[in-house]
Symmetry: C3
Subunit: 341 residues, 3 copies
Amino acid sequence: MADITRGWDALTGRNPLVSFLDACLRGVAQVVLQNNPLTGLLILAAIGWGAFENGKPQVLGGAVLGLVVGTATALALRVEHSSWRKGLFGFSPVLTGIAVPTFLDDRPLTWLYLVLGAAGTTVVTLALNAVFKRWALTAYTFPFVLTTWVLLMAAYQFDRFHVMTQLTPKFPGEGTLTGAAVDWGLVPTFLRGVSQVFLTDSWISGLIIVVALLVNSRWSALFAVVGSVGATLLALWFGADGASLDKGLFGFNAVLTAIVVGAVAHRPGVLATGYTLFGIALTLFVQMAMTTMLTPLGIPVLTGPFNVATWLLLLPDRHFAPVPNHEQVKDTVISAARRAV
Amino acid sequence: MADITRGWDALTGRNPLVSFLDACLRGVAQVVLQNNPLTGLLILAAIGWGAFENGKPQVLGGAVLGLVVGTATALALRVEHSSWRKGLFGFSPVLTGIAVPTFLDDRPLTWLYLVLGAAGTTVVTLALNAVFKRWALTAYTFPFVLTTWVLLMAAYQFDRFHVMTQLTPKFPGEGTLTGAAVDWGLVPTFLRGVSQVFLTDSWISGLIIVVALLVNSRWSALFAVVGSVGATLLALWFGADGASLDKGLFGFNAVLTAIVVGAVAHRPGVLATGYTLFGIALTLFVQMAMTTMLTPLGIPVLTGPFNVATWLLLLPDRHFAPVPNHEQVKDTVISAARRAV
Amino acid sequence: MADITRGWDALTGRNPLVSFLDACLRGVAQVVLQNNPLTGLLILAAIGWGAFENGKPQVLGGAVLGLVVGTATALALRVEHSSWRKGLFGFSPVLTGIAVPTFLDDRPLTWLYLVLGAAGTTVVTLALNAVFKRWALTAYTFPFVLTTWVLLMAAYQFDRFHVMTQLTPKFPGEGTLTGAAVDWGLVPTFLRGVSQVFLTDSWISGLIIVVALLVNSRWSALFAVVGSVGATLLALWFGADGASLDKGLFGFNAVLTAIVVGAVAHRPGVLATGYTLFGIALTLFVQMAMTTMLTPLGIPVLTGPFNVATWLLLLPDRHFAPVPNHEQVKDTVISAARRAV
């Protein structure tokens, strides 16, 4: 394994195409805050599995196209090279690339829209990171969220697109919530909570992503599962909509919050774990509030709640057992922000 | 009186429980930007009076619980101690504690929601102050506003809560405005404008709060009344809804703006008074605009308009007769921000 | 011509009234980022032409009143004098002054509302510039946008105003889009795209504004036309609403983005032109998204999309052939921001 890693690293140093491929794969992994091309490759497989399972193979194509366009745009805009190599300009465009074929109908113009959207995601990444670095933070996946919201809301105004978010614009409180129960059926729900980070509804994809996390960081894998389980159970207890719960839609934002707050921004410990559990609840409540906010517009919350909750949790800068020299953390988005201050 | 004060101060130095009680009482007073435990105690009495008068005694319980949880959370997160002692971590949670039993139905889960919300308010206070200190400002009561909006909007998505804001989500411009007249009935309306700072609809509570202000700062008491009278009369002139006007709902945001801009951030004077009168009008217009913005979501503006208007008024940093060594001001949220820069 | 210019400059130095008039005229020109009183005078003529052509002469009165009140308020608040002389406190209030009689019914109270709004626009300009200077940016016309949104949304809550934006609050996706065709009728549409920068629906006004730009900067005139043509054709291709397209409503935001990104913030060149074309598309998509966002509130996007898109495009700070000593640029809002850092 170590030999393969060394060989790959040598290859990326020599061959610009392999270097580009490496940056792309790391970009996929950076969605869940890992800097590891193998993790990225496994997650790409998980996305592909989910795409075919749900009868939407074009989603895999969108993911790859978004990733390549976003990463290449960053190169063209001459961004800081070491951040680029770590995949920090790939993780938002890959999500934009998944979102466009998921939420818009399949026609040639959609693919042009996706290319413009992925390039735009990179510009927005540069713009928002310039804003957030004043507080030693980064924009995380918010460039994806903002760009995709713009693409979806703009699509309502264009005759040539058909928005398929299955969310009819209406007032909050209208419509009925279906119930849900505590039984063994929740186990695949927890895994779908992980796969929904990549807008994918498949427990097998979720399982592959957990394995992909394990390859790079046990703590991240653990906190991902804790995030999904915690938020889903809390949503169940408070009586959230059963149909959405079943698809894992109340888990994925908390998965990301739990990885960042529990495993990446702080060294795992008792206080940090307590803060992470609080953060999981905060993420769920913020998600529910954003769902209400976006109900009249008929667009999904995406990973917006993760971003908002994590900013709120990290801005106080409480230093629960700060990270000293933590291997799997050193090269993520967090350390990049800290360095930039 | 001076003896009592000295005795109390000595007691807070010796007894951690009295010190905690002192920080809580100052927290209540800091909602109206006063650093004085007696002011806080009187206001707590006013909240209690209004709660019983309106047949909702649980509102007083919510106020106390929110105050204690928020202040204790700040202690657990090891915030800067001198700010903590001045009550700067109590004023938003006490309002969250009032808002939850006011706007949600009374059931056990509501109280858990309140506890999480009060703790969250403290986290949000730390987060937003970290943002605002870049401009020598603080977040004032906006942590309460943001947290309460999240709690109310999230409640729409939970089967186990019933939102009782009496604001059905609808489009702005729908529904009819009732008229109002200029007569002696406006005097209790002006006082209700003061009590609504604490989400309380009672002219007697308003009167107690004016007395509580007088105990610490005559200028603050004066500008509080000017804010309520000015904004209410302006709303009346422009033909705002009579039913809301009667409850004091067009006064409370301007009360806070007038205290900050007229009595705390600037030394009282002609120019500052002119700017304050303009600020009262600005606050009313911002409030009406926010009312329209939130109409499709069916949530109240709370003290959001005060926060927005005051940021807009203080960001230009115009220095009308700046505060030199102004006793009642020295220890509020404003000076803390100025010091932090 | 040079003699006249020299004579005028000498006059502004001697006579405070001429100096005020000069600052006002430059203020009108600064809407399109030019620092030239003759450009401002021609644009004022264009606004007047459009006002009379559309049977709303009071719009010209509103423009002048807003301009004078906003510029005078800045003087009263003792803003930095060299910025004031360049018209940097006139360009937002003149737009607020046009918007109020355009969107509200004509009655005495409307004019008081306009005066308060224009003064408020200057306060908001100072406030937002204090925020944006942390990123070497300015708020551009966003103070106008924010203030006018507040005035329109507040008007819904006042019985004495009647909002006439012709946008009934509804859900996005409701209503039908009318088609449009590519023919010679697009030429006046392109010019109306320029005139709509000043909320004016008249191709003759658009033509006068292009001439006014030519007087000061050929590049600005060129990019203004490119912006209007580009965004209108893109909107047509994607199937945007034909009725709005015909009025030039898909052009005006891109006109401003193209001037800033193509002619002012960067030295014109191949890379900068490519980035500008991308920026035109971004502006259109942001405009469509904001149209959806504001649909339930029934208010227009104004120049909000230009502001948002331009911030996103300039925050990455990519330095395509940076401006060295570029005459027509030196004294605009951009260089003021750069200097302020």
